[in-house]
C-alpha cells in the first residue's frame, strides 16, 4: 500500500499537531521509519513543552496588586474626631463632586440589582486597577473600575442589613470633612479616608444612616 502523502507533508502534520494522527499520516509512518522516528521524538518533546509552558506561579502576585495601594481603612476614632471637632455636618461636600457622583451612579443604576457576591479575584482586580486597598468585610455584589474625574476609581455595591449601598473609593478626591447630600432620589455622603475620600450612596427609600454605619464598621 503506497502512502498518499510524502515525508515533507507527514512531518508538517506531525509537527503542527503531534497529538493528532490522521489516517494518511498513520499510513505514511507505517512504511517510513524516518518519519515514525520523527513522530516519536516530537511526542517525547511535547510532554516537556507542556511542562515548560506551565510555569510555576509562585513568582507571580497571588493578589493582582500592581501599585503601592492607598489604604481605605476607617479608623473610628479619626472619623469621630472629624465629626466632633470639624463640625462635619455643617460642611457639605462640593456640590459639583456630589452631582458628579450621582450622575455616575445613575448610569450604573443596575448595579444595585445583583445579590451574588463578586469573586474575590474580581474585587482584587478592580481595587488593583485603581491602586487602592479596601476591606469592606461585607458582601460586595458589584465591582467595577470606573473612570471618574480623570482617574479610575473602584465602584462597589456593598450589601448591608439595610439594603445595598454604593461605595466609591475616591483616592484622588480630598474632602476636608464628612458631608451629606441629597441629589434627586439618592442620599449620599462623602468623607475623608486615607489620602482621599469615600463616597457612599443609597436610594432615598432605604434607611441610609444605619447602612452607612455598617459600611464604616465593616471597613474597620
Amino acid at each position: 500500500m503506497s502512502s498518499v502523502i510524502d515525508c515533507k507533508h507527514a512531518r508538517l502534520q506531525i509537527g503542527g499537531e503531534p497529538q493528532v494522527l490522521s489516517a494518511e499520516v498513520a499510513q505514511h509512518i507505517a512504511t517510513c521509519a524516518a518519519c515514525s522516528k520523527f513522530r516519536d521524538e516530537t511526542l517525547a518533546m511535547e510532554g516537556r513543552l507542556k511542562s515548560a509552558l506551565e510555569l510555576p506561579l509562585h513568582h507571580f502576585r497571588e493578589s493582582p496588586l500592581k501599585v503601592a495601594p492607598r489604604r481605605f481603612a476607617l479608623a473610628a476614632s479619626i472619623v469621630l474626631a472629624l465629626l466632633v471637632g470639624g463640625g462635619a455636618w455643617l460642611f457639605r461636600p462640593q456640590p459639583v463632586l456630589a452631582a458628579e457622583i450621582v450622575e455616575h451612579i445613575r448610569h450604573e443604576s443596575g448595579s444595585w440589582g445583583s445579590r451574588e457576591p463578586v469573586p474575590p479575584e474580581l474585587l482584587d482586580a478592580v481595587l488593583a486597577k485603581a491602586g487602592v486597598r479596601y476591606n469592606p468585610r461585607l458582601p460586595v455584589t458589584y465591582a467595577s473600575p470606573c473612570p471618574f474625574r480623570g482617574h479610575i476609581v473602584p465602584h462597589l455595591v456593598v450589601q448591608t442589613d439595610h439594603g445595598p449601598v454604593t461605595v466609591m473609593l475616591l483616592s484622588h478626591e480630598k474632602v476636608k470633612s464628612e458631608g451629606k447630600f441629597t441629589e434627586g432620589q439618592y442620599h449620599g455622603v462623602v468623607f475623608p479616608a486615607g489620602s482621599g475620600s469615600i463616597a457612599v450612596l443609597a436610594p432615598s427609600g432605604q434607611p441610609f444612616d444605619d447602612a452607612l454605619e455598617q459600611v464604616k464598621e465593616g471597613a474597620l
Binding site: G16, E17, P18, L49, K50, L55, P56, L57, V118, P120
Partner: protein, 178 residues
C-alpha cells in the same frame, strides 16, 4: 475580604470557574507578553471584562477559549493604549525572570529552564499559536479563527515553532514544508 461566593447559581459557578482558570490565564498572558508585570495587568483586565460579560457564556466548556480570547485582546489593547515598546528578541528581559527558573536538576538533557528560554526567543508568530495549542488546548481551527489565518498557515507556524525547539534537544530540524 469579600465573602466567597456561595450557592449554586450560574454566577457562583462562573466565579469558581474564573478562580480555577486564572493560573492558566496568567501563564498564557506571560507567554504572550514575555513580561510578568504586563501579564498580571492583562489578567486583571481580563477578569474584569469577563465578569461584566459573563452572561454571554451559555456553555461552561466554551469559557476557557473565550477567556483566552479576552487575554489576547487585552494584551493587544494594552500595547495599543500604552504604546509599550516592542520587545527585541535579543534583549528579552524575561529571560532572566525568576518565574522561568524551575530549580530542576538537569540530567544532561536540556532542562525546562532552557526550553522556556528557547520558547521566549521564538518570534511572536510562532510562539503565540504554540502557546494557544499546548497551554490553551485550542485546535488549529480555533487558533486560525482567533489569529485570522487559514488552518494550513497555522499548521505551518506550529510546525516551524516545534522545529526551532528541536534544536535545543540536539534533534535535527525537519525540512521546512514550504
Amino acid at each position: 475580604m469579600n465573602p466567597r461566593p456561595r450557592g449554586t447559581t450560574a454566577t457562583s459557578a462562573f466565579a469558581r470557574l474564573l478562580e480555577t482558570l486564572r493560573p492558566d490565564l496568567v501563564r498564557f498572558a506571560f507567554w504572550l507578553a514575555r513580561d510578568r508585570a504586563v501579564a498580571e495587568d492583562v489578567v486583571q483586565e481580563t477578569l474584569i471584562r469577563a465578569w461584566k460579560s459573563r452572561e454571554e457564556i451559555k456553555d461552561p466548556a466554551a469559557t476557557r477559549p473565550w477567556l483566552l480570547t479576552i487575554v489576547r485582546r487585552e494584551h493587544a489593547r494594552l500595547y495599543e493604549r500604552k504604546r509599550l515598546p516592542t520587545v527585541d528578541l535579543a534583549e528579552v528581559e524575561a529571560l532572566g525572570d525568576p518565574a522561568l527558573v524551575s530549580g530542576e536538576v538537569s540530567d544532561g538533557e536540556a532542562g525546562l529552564d532552557d526550553l522556556r528560554r528557547a520558547i521566549l526567543k521564538l518570534a511572536d508568530e510562532y510562539r503565540e499559536p504554540l502557546v494557544m495549542q499546548v497551554l490553551g488546548g485550542l485546535t488549529t481551527s480555533e487558533i486560525a479563527e482567533q489569529l485570522g489565518l487559514t488552518q494550513p498557515a497555522v499548521l505551518t507556524r506550529l510546525f516551524r515553532a516545534r522545529n526551532k525547539l528541536r534544536e535545543i534537544y540536539g534533534l535535527a530540524p525537519a525540512e521546512d514544508a514550504e
